[in-house]
């Protein structure tokens, strides 16, 4: 078929496709879901943890959420080792900007810089693209709270609510109907649970499988990422299950 055009990352196929980039996105389509919702008073990131073996030693605070700089946070979906490399690079980019300008790097600029790096892997060098999509959540004094998404092609866009990873199309259509522009974080959290519940395949949604964090601005003028404690997540899931039971009874 067009197999001869897909082993070179830097070649177009006759139909004008970059197969390696598409294959990278396939890899991400099998990875744990990440959901992002922009509320008027904060940003919510909800991630599905795929690795939940009870023998795992929980040394790290989070599996899929990373702080990039004092004003930005990201969540990843895809090949974890690729994600670590990108997160390291993002942290360096943000600090270099801070060193040069003595100011926090604006969110879009950080995303765009990283995407320029990712794009390079689709055009030259002969190396495969990164098999990671990222959701970036942050604040800057130009545009306030912002949510961005980037993928292996190096494309990025700003979103009010979006999803990456497994079943992301289903999640996005769900968000399409239920998201309201001036939602508060308090309304966004149950919405995230509702969407995650719907898309988590046959596997039952439990608090161990979910990592939820909110990104907010404090009164002192700093940006904080707060990870919602497991007990609270468990309560929210139970609440959602009760709602579903009531709906099916009617």
């Amino acid at each position: 078929m067009s197999r001869r055009y897909d082993s070179r990352t830097t070649m177009f196929s006759p139909e004008g496709r970059l197969y390696q980039v598409e294959y990278a996105m396939e890899a991400i389509g099998n990875a744990g879901t990440c959901l992002g919702i922009l509320a008027k008073d904060g940003i919510l990131l909800a991630c599905e943890k795929r690795i939940t073996n009870k023998l795992l030693d929980e040394i790290f605070e989070t599996e899929k959420l990373y702080r990039l700089s004092p004003n930005m946070v990201c969540s990843v979906a895809g090949i974890t080792s690729d994600a670590n490399t990108l997160v390291n690079e993002l942290r360096l980019i943000a600090q270099r900007y801070q060193l040069n300008y003595q100011e926090s790097m604006p969110c879009e600029q950080l995303v765009a810089s990283m995407c320029d790096v990712k794009q390079a892997y689709t055009q030259f060098g002969g190396k495969r693209p990164f098999g990671v999509s990222l959701l970036y959540a942050g604040w800057d004094h130009h545009f306030g709270l912002q949510l961005y998404q980037s993928d292996p092609s190096g494309n990025y866009s700003g979103w009010k609510a979006t999803c990456i990873g497994a079943n992301n199309a289903q999640a996005i259509s769900s968000l399409d109907s239920d998201y309201k522009s001036d939602m508060s974080l308090q309304e966004a959290i149950p919405l995230a649970i509702k969407v995650m519940y719907k898309i988590m395949d046959q596997n039952k949604l439990t608090a161990e499988k979910l990592e939820i964090a909110t990104v907010t601005r404090t009164d002192e003028g700093t940006t904080e990422m707060t990870i919602i404690p497991r007990e609270t997540v468990a309560e929210l899931i139970t609440k959602r299950e009760q709602e579903i039971a009531q709906e099916t009874q009617k």
Partner: protein, 205 residues
């Protein structure tokens, strides 16, 4: 005229009981001319970690900025605030990288260990030799005057108010004997759960 005396400064850090204090003068001058009298020499590196830089101001700024760069990356990767001992190693490493073309600025570190709350102070030379102090550390063009004053005023286990008095009197009287430092003073008292900044009125000459 040596490069260390081009701008002038007075810096002192002292330990107390479960607290540390760091104080500097606020004169920014170019040789004999005074340019501003509200110059900030102290930089916050963490909730209970402060650094004050003496010497050439441009190098002081650069070292502080480079230090913050390394510190931010450390805290992001390690997911915890830095320990003062480790910070001292970071400072030392940064300064020694310029062994044969050094930064003409020396830092003074003052802070509390984030877990134990133990007081910690340290001083350096311009190529990074660290001296972890037990009582006080002084620096700047009034370094020697400060040494003498601190020796007279410091006692072990000062509480935060006694510490404030001791460090303030040491600084004000030492900087009065130095024409390149003075025109105001700032004192930071660092305790486990709060940091207080006090601005002192000094001789305006």
């Amino acid at each position: 005229m040596s490069i260390d005396e081009y701008n002038g400064s007075a810096i002192v850090a002292m330990t107390g009981k479960d607290c540390v204090a760091i104080a500097t003068d606020t004169r920014f001058g170019v040789q004999r001319t005074t340019i501003t009298t509200d110059f900030e020499r102290v930089h916050k590196m963490g909730p209970t970690l402060y650094v004050a830089m003496s010497g050439l101001v441009t190098d002081a700024y650069t070292v502080a900025a480079r230090l913050k760069y390394r510190l931010n990356l450390y805290e992001l990767r390690e997911n915890r605030p830095v320990n003062p001992k480790v910070f001292v190693s970071m400072v030392s490493n940064l300064l020694y990288e310029r062994r044969f073309g050094p930064y003409f600025s020396t830092p003074v570190v003052a802070g509390l260990d984030p877990t134990s709350g133990k007081p910690f102070i340290a001083g350096f030379d311009c190529i990074g030799d660290p001296t972890i102090g037990t009582d006080f550390v002084t620096d700047g063009t009034s370094g020697e005057q400060l040494m003498g004053m601190c020796e007279a005023f410091w006692r072990p286990d000062l509480n935060k108010d006694e510490l404030f008095e001791a460090i303030s009197q040491s600084l004000l009287n030492a900087q009065d004997r130095d024409s390149y430092a003075g025109w105001g003073a700032q004192v930071y008292i660092i305790e486990k759960d709060k940091v207080t900044k006090k601005i002192l009125k000094a001789r305006k000459d």
